[in-house]
C-alpha cells in the first residue's frame, strides 16, 4: 500500500502594511490559527501589488495567491486599494478567460481589527486551494506536444 502524502499547498499572501499585515499580527496575538502554508509578504499598500508579482509566484510554484488590503475607502494612501481593486478584477478575469482556475487568486479586504477575519479568510482560501490541488496549468500552457 502506498502512503498518500497530504498535499501541502504553497500560498503567498500579499498584505498591506497598514491594515491587513496588522490584521495578521492581531490574528497571531489572538492565537487564531490558520494553515502554515500561508506565507505573508509585506507591501506598503495593496496598490503596490504588481500583477507581475502574482504571475511570478505562480511561475515559481505557488498554488494560490491572495492579496489583502484595507477596506475600500479606508486606504492609508486614500486610493491605493481602489486602483488595486480594478487591476486585480481585470487580471483575475483574464486568468479565468485563459482557463486558469479563478479560485487560485483572491482579494480580501481585512482591517487591522479583523484578526478573526484574517484567520477565517486564510483557512477558507487554503481549503479552496487544497481542493484545487497543485497548480499545473499556469506552468503548462506552453507545453509543446
Amino acid at each position: 500500500m502506498q502512503e498518500v502524502k497530504e498535499f501541502k499547498p504553497n500560498i503567498v499572501a500579499f498584505c498591506c502594511n497598514w491594515c491587513s499585515y496588522a490584521g495578521a499580527d492581531l490574528a497571531g496575538s489572538s492565537r487564531l490559527s490558520y494553515p502554515a502554508d500561508v506565507k505573508i509578504i509585506r507591501v506598503p499598500c495593496s496598490g503596490r501589488v504588481n500583477p507581475m508579482f502574482i504571475l511570478k509566484a505562480f511561475e515559481k510554484g505557488a498554488d494560490g495567491v491572495i492579496i489583502c488590503g484595507c477596506h475600500p475607502g479606508d486606504c492609508h494612501y486614500n486610493t491605493g486599494n481602489f486602483y488595486a481593486r480594478r487591476r486585480m478584477t481585470l487580471l483575475y478575469s483574464m486568468l479565468d478567460y485563459m482557463g486558469i482556475e479563478k479560485g487560485r487568486t483572491r482579494v480580501e479586504w481585512v482591517s487591522a481589527a479583523e484578526g478573526a477575519k484574517f484567520s477565517n479568510v486564510m483557512n477558507k482560501f487554503c481549503g479552496d486551494i487544497k481542493e484545487l490541488g497543485e497548480c499545473v496549468k499556469l506552468g503548462d500552457i506552453r507545453c509543446k506536444d
Binding site: 490574528a27 506565507k39 503596490r48 507581475m52 515559481k60 494612501y77 486614500n78
Partner: protein, 662 residues
C-alpha cells in the same frame, strides 16, 4: 555580495516552543551571502541588541535579518540599533516568525518549515537592499490661510499666537465671511457680531497677521515647507492705507441701485461702499460694474468729497508673490440656490425667503433694522412656516445627497426667536427628522417646542401657492396621516449648504483632493481630520464638510496646531522609502502622474545621456517631500522605470521566489 548576519529570536518560549531555532539558524547559514547566524533568547533586550552590534563589527556585516516578532513592534528598534554601529538602518529586515508563525501554528515541524521560508525571504530581500538616506527639506516659517471667515480667522489667530506669521487671503472686501451675516447663534442665542467682530479686530491688529482682502490666490507651486503662492489683489480703487472709513463718499454717491450683497439683495447699496458697519478693513471699495466714473467716465463725486484723497480710479490689480511653509484652506460654504424647487415658489413669491435672508431680516443692522416684516409689503406677519431639508438629503439634481447638519438647529433658533419677540406669530416647522446631536442642542429644540410653542409637523411640503393674499403651504402630516393646508404670511426655506464654489479651484491648485460634493477630503476620516492628503495642506471649517460654529472653531484650532507643529521644525525629514524614476527607462507617459494621490510626481525636460545618445526627454520626477511611498505609481508604470525604494520590484520578486521554493 553583501555579508549578511541572521539573528533568530526565541522570544522566550513564544517562538522557541513551536519553531526549532537551531534548524532555522542552520538553514539560514546555507543561504547565499549569510556569513553568520545565531539564535538568542530575547533579541530586543539590551543584551540581544549588543549581540547584534558586536556581530556587525566582528563580521563587518552589510545586512542584518532579525527573525523575531512583527516589524510593527521592533523594526524601528533594530534599525536604530544598526545606526548606532554605523550600519545603514535600511539594511535591516525583519522576518515575522512570531505573530505570523509561532503563535498560530501548533505543529512544530510545520512551524519550523514556515519560519525557514520567512527567514529566507527576508535574506533574499536584504541581499538586494541598498542603503537609503533620509532627505531633508527646509521650512518657510509663514502660513497662508485661504478664506477670512470664522474658520480662517481662528486658524490665523492661533498660528499667530504661536509666533508665526500668517497671511489671510479673503476674496471679499472684508473679512468675516458667512458668520458676519448671522443674527444670533445657537444654542446660546448670543449675538454673532458680538463674538465675531472682536476676533476680526484681533486678527487685524495682530502683529503676525496680514489681512489680504479683496484678493484671490491665483496659483500655488512647490510643496510642504516651501510653497510659492501668487495672489491677485484686485483693484478696489480706494487706497486702503489712507481711507479712514468715514463714509462721506457713500453718502454722496449717486449710483444707489446696486444689490447689497451683504443683505443678500434685500436692499440696495451705493457703488462706492463699505460692506457693513464693522467691516475690516473699514475701507470703502468701488464696484466697477456700476460705478458711473468707471463705466462711463462721468461723475467722480466721491473723489472730490474725499478729504484724504484716498480714491484712485486708475488703480490696477496687484500681484503679490509670497512663500509659505503651510497652507490652510478655509473657503467655507454658501447656501445652495433654491430656484429649482419651483413647487416652493421662491422665485414667484417675495415672502418665500431663505433662512439666511431671514437672518438679515431679524438682524438689528439689517435692511429693516431688525423688525421682522413681510418682504412683499412691509406688513407684520402673523403666520410663518418653516420648511426644513430644502435640498439636503436630496439625491436628485436639484439638491445634495448629504445632510447639511446645521439647518435643524438654526431653524429651531429662528422659530424660537420669532416666538420670543412676536408671541402673536404662529410658527410651524415642517421636518423630516430633527437632528440635534450636540451639547445642549436637543434641550434647545425641546425648549422651542415646550416653552415657546413652536409647532413641529412631521412631514414635507408638496407646494406653496398664493391665495387671497396669503401663502398656502400644502404639506403632509405623517403623524395624523393628513394632507394639511397652512395659511402663512411668510415661508422660510432651510436651504442646504454647499462648499463655496472657489473650493474646487483652490483644491486643484493645491493638488488637494475633493469628494463628489466638492468638499475637501481629509487625510484620514478619523485620525487625520484636519489635514489634506497632500502634505502641508490643512483644512479648516466647512470646506471639509458641514459644520456649525463651535465645530468650525474647534477644527480651525486643530488645523492651526498642525500648522504650528510643522512650522516649528527647521527641517523636514523625508522618508527614504519613496518612488524613484530610472531616467533611462522613463517614457514620460504620465501614467504614474495620473495615479499619484499626493501630486508628488512632476515632469521635467531633462538632458539624458542614453548610452551616448544625448537628447532632451520628458522625464517623471518624484518630489521626495511629497511622496509617501505607497507605490501605486510603480505598478502603473508599464516599463518598470518607476520603482519604490525599500520595496523594489526586484526585492518583492526575490521574496516571492524564496517563499515559493519548495
Amino acid at each position: 555580495m553583501l555579508k549578511i548576519g541572521v539573528f533568530v529570536c526565541w522570544c522566550g518560549s513564544n517562538i522557541a516552543a513551536t519553531v526549532d531555532i537551531d534548524q532555522v539558524v542552520a538553514a539560514a547559514k546555507l543561504q547565499p551571502g549569510v556569513v553568520m547566524a545565531t539564535g538568542y533568547q530575547y533579541m530586543c533586550s539590551e543584551n540581544g541588541q549588543s549581540l547584534m552590534r558586536k556581530a556587525v563589527e566582528e563580521y563587518k556585516l552589510d545586512g542584518v535579518v532579525i527573525c523575531a516578532c512583527s516589524p510593527r513592534m521592533h523594526e524601528a528598534t533594530f534599525r536604530k540599533n544598526a545606526q548606532r554601529v554605523g550600519l545603514n538602518p535600511f539594511m535591516v529586515e525583519i522576518a515575522n516568525i512570531r505573530e505570523h508563525c509561532s503563535w498560530i501554528h501548533k505543529d512544530k515541524e510545520q512551524g519550523t518549515i514556515k519560519a525557514i521560508a520567512l527567514a529566507n525571504a527576508a535574506i533574499a530581500k536584504v541581499s538586494l537592499n541598498a542603503p537609503l538616506i533620509s532627505g531633508e527639506s527646509s521650512v518657510t516659517k509663514r502660513a497662508l490661510v485661504i478664506g477670512g471667515g470664522i474658520a480662517g480667522l481662528q486658524t490665523a489667530l492661533d498660528i499667530a499666537e504661536a509666533g508665526f506669521e500668517v497671511d489671510v487671503v479673503e476674496r471679499q472686501a472684508t473679512i468675516g465671511g458667512n458668520m458676519a451675516k448671522i443674527d444670533k447663534t445657537f444654542p446660546t442665542l448670543d449675538c454673532a457680531a458680538c463674538i465675531l467682530t472682536p476676533k476680526m479686530v484681533d486678527a487685524a491688529s495682530h502683529e503676525n497677521i496680514e489681512l489680504i482682502t479683496y484678493s484671490e490666490v491665483e496659483s500655488v507651486k512647490g510643496f510642504v515647507g516651501s510653497f510659492k503662492a501668487t495672489i491677485r489683489k484686485k483693484a478696489r480703487y480706494v487706497n486702503e492705507k489712507t481711507c479712514t472709513g468715514c463714509g462721506l463718499c457713500m453718502s454722496k454717491c449717486p449710483s444707489k441701485k446696486s444689490k447689497n450683497e451683504f443683505n443678500l439683495g434685500l436692499d440696495n447699496r451705493t457703488s462706492i461702499f463699505i460692506p457693513f458697519a464693522q467691516a475690516i478693513p473699514n475701507v470703502a471699495v468701488i464696484d466697477p460694474q456700476s460705478c458711473i466714473k468707471l463705466t462711463r467716465d462721468k461723475c467722480g463725486l466721491c473723489q472730490s468729497v474725499c478729504e484724504v484723497k484716498a480714491i484712485d480710479f486708475t488703480m490696477q490689480d496687484e500681484i503679490i508673490e509670497r512663500e509659505y511653509g503651510a497652507i490652510v484652506v478655509a473657503t467655507g460654504f454658501k447656501p445652495i440656490e433654491v430656484d429649482a424647487f419651483d413647487e416652493l415658489g421662491y422665485t414667484q413669491n417675495k415672502d418665500v425667503i431663505t433662512s439666511l435672508e431671514l437672518e438679515r431680516l431679524m438682524n438689528a443692522a439689517g435692511p429693516t433694522g431688525g423688525k421682522l416684516v413681510k418682504v412683499s409689503d412691509g406688513s407684520h406677519p402673523t403666520d410663518i412656516t418653516f420648511i426644513q431639508c430644502v435640498g439636503s438629503r436630496d439625491c436628485t439634481s436639484r439638491g445634495k445627497e448629504y445632510c447639511s447638519k446645521i439647518c435643524c438647529m438654526y431653524t429651531c433658533k429662528h422659530a424660537m426667536l420669532i416666538r420670543d419677540k412676536y408671541p402673536d406669530i404662529n410658527v410651524n416647522v415642517f421636518y423630516i427628522d430633527v437632528r440635534t446631536p450636540g451639547k445642549n442642542y436637543d434641550e434647545f429644540y425641546r425648549r422651542a417646542v415646550e416653552d415657546f410653542g413652536v409647532n413641529y409637523i412631521k412631514g414635507q411640503v408638496g407646494k406653496v401657492y398664493a391665495e387671497d393674499g396669503k401663502l398656502i403651504v400644502q404639506g403632509s402630516d405623517l403623524i395624523t396621516n393628513e394632507q394639511i393646508f397652512i395659511k402663512s404670511d411668510m415661508v422660510v426655506l432651510a436651504s442646504a449648504i454647499e462648499p463655496d464654489p472657489s473650493a474646487k479651484k483652490v483644491a486643484s491648485m493645491l493638488t488637494a483632493s475633493i469628494d463628489t460634493n466638492n468638499f475637501l477630503t481629509e487625510a484620514h476620516a478619523k485620525l487625520r481630520p484636519v489635514e489634506s492628503p497632500t502634505a502641508g495642506i490643512f483644512l479648516s471649517g466647512v470646506c471639509q464638510g458641514p459644520k456649525d460654529i463651535p465645530e468650525t472653531v474647534a477644527q480651525a484650532g486643530a488645523a492651526a496646531s498642525k500648522v504650528i507643529g510643522l512650522l516649528v521644525k527647521n527641517k523636514l525629514v523625508t522618508s527614504p522609502c519613496i518612488a524613484t524614476t530610472d531616467e533611462l527607462l522613463c517614457s514620460g507617459c504620465s501614467n504614474c502622474f495620473n495615479i499619484c494621490p499626493y501630486g508628488a510626481i512632476g515632469y521635467e525636460d531633462k538632458l539624458i545621456n542614453d548610452h551616448g545618445i544625448r537628447e532632451t526627454r520628458r522625464i517623471a520626477v518624484v518630489n521626495p517631500a511629497l511622496c509617501q511611498g505607497c507605490g501605486a505609481c510603480s505598478v502603473a508604470c508599464p516599463s518598470g522605470a518607476m520603482d519604490l525604494l525599500g520595496y523594489t520590484n526586484k526585492q518583492i520578486m526575490a521574496e516571492v521566489d524564496a517563499i515559493c521554493k519548495r
